[in-house]
Symmetry: C2
Subunit: 219 residues, 2 copies
């Protein structure tokens, strides 16, 4: 049975998974790169970005990378909220915006983008984006079919992850708690009181200062 997995979802110590004021230049709003600064030096990110960085070389293979790398393994499709695809809201003005990732997005699988506003499929390199207005359970059914026996990644953002957690559809939730107080933005945990009753939780502190927390749904 295909699992629905969330990986590398960073939250501030005060529970925000993205900042306020998201734009094309600032995908995380006023949070800037601070929520993901543990991720950029990892080998997984360096390989994903497709170039070696002078500062980090091939990238680090420590605790952070061990968790980061898990996001790639056994995934056959991704579901993302529209906010992860782009900062726009409302009907698509045109189809010029093709996501943040350039001509070769790092997914290399079908991606179901949840949006109330229709748009034709978009093929970029090895990735096909399919835009649909679906409830969480329907989206998972479609993505599981597209994944062809492999798992489905739930890519975010926080509002989308929250909706799938509320619907009890998430099998694995990997959050990265970053020791910053963001103060404003989109909260991950709102409306999820008692979530721990449905999950086992394992916690690991990384020498880089972040905490990896793996929530595994009880069976």
């Amino acid at each position: 049975m295909a699992q629905l997995r969330v990986h590398n979802l960073a939250v501030s110590i005060d529970g925000f998974a993205t900042g306020e004021g998201r734009t094309v230049e600032a995908p995380f709003g006023h949070a800037g790169g601070r929520l993901m600064s543990w991720f950029f030096p990892t080998r997984t990110f360096v390989a994903m970005a497709g170039h070696e960085d002078e500062a980090v070389g091939e990238g680090a293979r420590g605790v952070d990378d061990a968790f980061a790398a898990a996001t790639e393994i056994g995934i056959g499709a991704e579901i993302m909220g529209r906010g992860k695809f782009g900062p726009q809201t409302g009907p698509w003005q045109d189809h010029e915006w093709q996501g943040w990732w350039g001509p070769e997005p790092p997914f290399h699988t079908p991606v179901v983008v949840l949006t109330h506003h229709p748009r034709p499929d978009l093929v970029l390199g090895g990735t096909t984006f399919t835009f649909r207005d679906l409830a969480p359970a329907e989206a998972l059914a479609l993505a599981a079919e597209l994944a062809d026996g492999r798992d489905v990644r739930l890519g975010g953002g926080p509002t989308t992850v929250r909706a799938f957690l509320e619907a009890d559809l998430v099998d694995l939730l990997h959050v990265v708690v970053v020791p910053i107080v963001l103060g404003r933005g989109v909260r991950l945990w709102d409306g999820l009181e008692g979530l721990e009753d449905r999950f086992d939780v394992e916690t690991t502190a990384s020498p880089t200062g972040v905490v990896h927390q793996v929530w595994t749904r009880r069976r």
Copy 2:
């Protein structure tokens, strides 16, 4: 120079340091004992409670106890908000309520209780409670004097800790992040955006599942 230190302040993963609906029977409201369940088996708590528990004997001496025990060391006075002293609000109806701790409270030092409502000093065993309507800096000045060269513990609750953090008076903040989603109550981190700019942060995961985070003010 006396330091102002916060120890053993537990917060849920969604940032609440106490629950909703506090009463005499439920000092943490709907959170019950869940925020402090890491603390009860420690040697520090067993010694503080003044009895050995059949289940835990003398108490555990692991990571949680190492952090818990630090709260006792070098402290000459405590400051607490009125909410830590009792669940009542508004003018004191009488002086029958003498705190949660019985005839021998675990402080054994002067304790400054911050309240807008006057009340005479209360001596219980080795502890003297002094009730004052003071701003954070004034409270610290009084407590430092009472501490006679030792440090001052800021005992909580979260609203009080937040006020002292906003006033930049806290030298050390030890928080314990508990992997539960509390959903409602009093948030610790609100209004403290960018707090990390003034602190160095160290994080340790305990095998019991909680995370100890030590925020040390930069000098």
